[in-house]
């Protein structure tokens, strides 16, 4: 009997493990250290959207290689906003930007950047604070499709409206619309800001260091990872930061491990902004 995933059925834990193993074997992506309840929800969601049973999903993952990109896009959460958590940008502006401005050139890594909203938020902030010409932001994600969106830098007016509200709470002096060219129902980020960004594929789980940064922002990515994996990635970030470089995690993501608490100094407890210390 075929089982169709209806609204009130659910993936069982063995089925979840089976899918994780299959994706790892066939596509080389390792989801085994992802947070389980959330991953289960994403899988149930994709099955519902595509009207696939558990067996259909297994079949299509094995036999339709092109489906995997779509799968990846649905499995990873790509909900993001410009200036999400305005208080974070406020803290960044008062506690971190003054230090960044002492560098001749600032390199920022935005890890897990999805469709680019955070990269451009940082670009706007740095520009407004006079660092536009001497900063560069790398945005990375495991998902090639969302990176295409990020490179375009075009967002619907409806979204821009809600981003403008976030911006208002940051206390920045300008206006978000100063940085966009308005089209009929969308807005495109100014090319001047785009020039200071580069988007590329990077997998936090399997890829390594690719540059040295003054600041790394990885917000609302750790929530999808179990603590052991978080620590492995913290190690990657630690090694990718210059001495006294800054690490920004999401609003509700704290560094828990004792060994990393010794390697990072807390700059802002509430916003989870850290600074690399020690050797």
């Amino acid at each position: 009997m075929r089982e169709i995933l209806g609204k009130d059925s659910n993936l069982t834990t063995p089925q979840l493990t089976e899918l994780i193993d299959l994706v790892k074997k066939i596509h080389g992506f390792d989801f085994s250290d992802y947070t389980k309840a959330s991953l289960k929800r994403r899988l149930a969601r994709i099955m519902m959207l595509k009207k696939l049973s558990f067996y259909d999903l297994k079949h299509i993952l094995v036999n339709a290689p092109a489906f995997f990109q779509e799968f990846l896009e649905e499995i990873t959460v790509n909900v993001t906003e410009m200036f999400r958590d305005p208080a974070f940008y406020k803290a960044l502006n008062t506690q971190v930007v003054p230090y960044l401005s002492t560098y001749q050139h600032t390199k920022v890594w935005c890890a897990g950047c999805s469709s680019g909203e955070e990269v451009y938020s940082l670009a706007i902030l740095l520009k407004e604070e006079g660092l536009g010409k001497k900063s560069f932001i790398y945005g990375t994600d495991i998902n090639t499709e969302v990176l295409k969106e990020a490179r375009k830098g075009i967002y619907s007016l409806r979204k821009i409206k809600s981003y403008a509200e976030n911006y208002l709470f940051t206390g920045l002096p300008g206006s978000i619309t100063d940085h966009f060219t308005m089209m009929y129902d969308a807005a495109a980020i100014h090319s001047e800001l785009k020039q200071n960004t580069l988007f590329s594929v990077h997998n936090l789980i399997s890829d390594t260091i690719f540059n040295e940064f003054q600041m790394i922002s990885c917000r609302n990515v750790f929530i999808y990872f179990e603590t052991e994996l978080q620590e492995r990635i913290l190690d990657l970030f630690y090694k990718s930061l210059c001495p006294l470089g800054y690490l920004c995690l999401g609003n509700k993501e704290t560094i828990r491990s004792d060994s990393f608490r010794k390697k990072f100094k807390v700059i802002n407890q509430k916003e989870n902004i850290y600074q690399k210390i020690g050797a």
Binding site: T35, R41, N166, N220, I223, E226, R256
Partner: protein
């Protein structure tokens, strides 16, 4: 685990409930209440100051304490993990809500099923109804506030209409139940 979900019209009631629970209630209490993302409310502070139990806003991977009250943070969904901790998620809003009561209830059903008690209070949309049903199906004790007592009846009504609530209780009955321990 005691799960309390509410939206419009439930705040005062939840506040009174939090105030009432004794310091040795010896249960995990999880509160999911809808609110706006940039509305810097003092909900957590207000609740914490008036609670005799340890009360905190949930951070990602917080271990679940067996004698504490937890509040789901704004602009995240809160999920309950089998391994005994909370995890957060920023995915799409459900019924225009983040936190969504459905998301937390469904994950609680999956993780702890019959050891849960859940109460759905006043609200102006149907978030929480499906989740309550899932909890009921997994053996949890499920309760909806009597729609006549709810400032906004849509939320308890939605749960009742899909048979998600095992009991429909008056507000006074809910208070009595919690005072006597569930």
């Amino acid at each position: 685990m005691l799960l309390l979900g509410g939206s419009a019209g439930s705040f005062k009631l939840l506040f009174r409930l939090v105030k009432l629970l004794p310091h040795d209630f010896n249960k995990t209490v999880v509160i999911i209440i809808h609110r706006k993302k940039n509305f810097f409310s003092e909900i957590e502070k207000l609740f914490a100051e008036n609670s005799r139990m340890l009360l905190r806003e949930i951070s990602d991977k917080d271990p679940i304490d067996s004698n504490a009250i937890y509040i789901a943070p704004a602009n995240y969904h809160t999920l309950i993990e089998k391994k005994g901790y909370f995890s957060l998620d920023v995915s799409e809003a459900i019924w225009y809500s983040k936190p969504s009561i459905d998301v937390t209830f469904e994950s609680a059903a999956d993780a702890f099923g019959k050891s849960c008690t859940a109460i759905l209070f006043s609200g102006a949309n149907q978030d929480g109804a499906e989740g309550l049903l899932k909890l009921r199906q997994s053996g949890a004790l499920t309760i909806a506030q009597h729609p006549e007592d709810a400032e906004m009846a849509e939320m308890p009504n939605a749960a009742i209409s899909i048979d998600g609530a095992e009991y429909i209780l008056r507000t006074t009955e809910i208070f009595e139940l919690l005072q006597n321990g569930t």
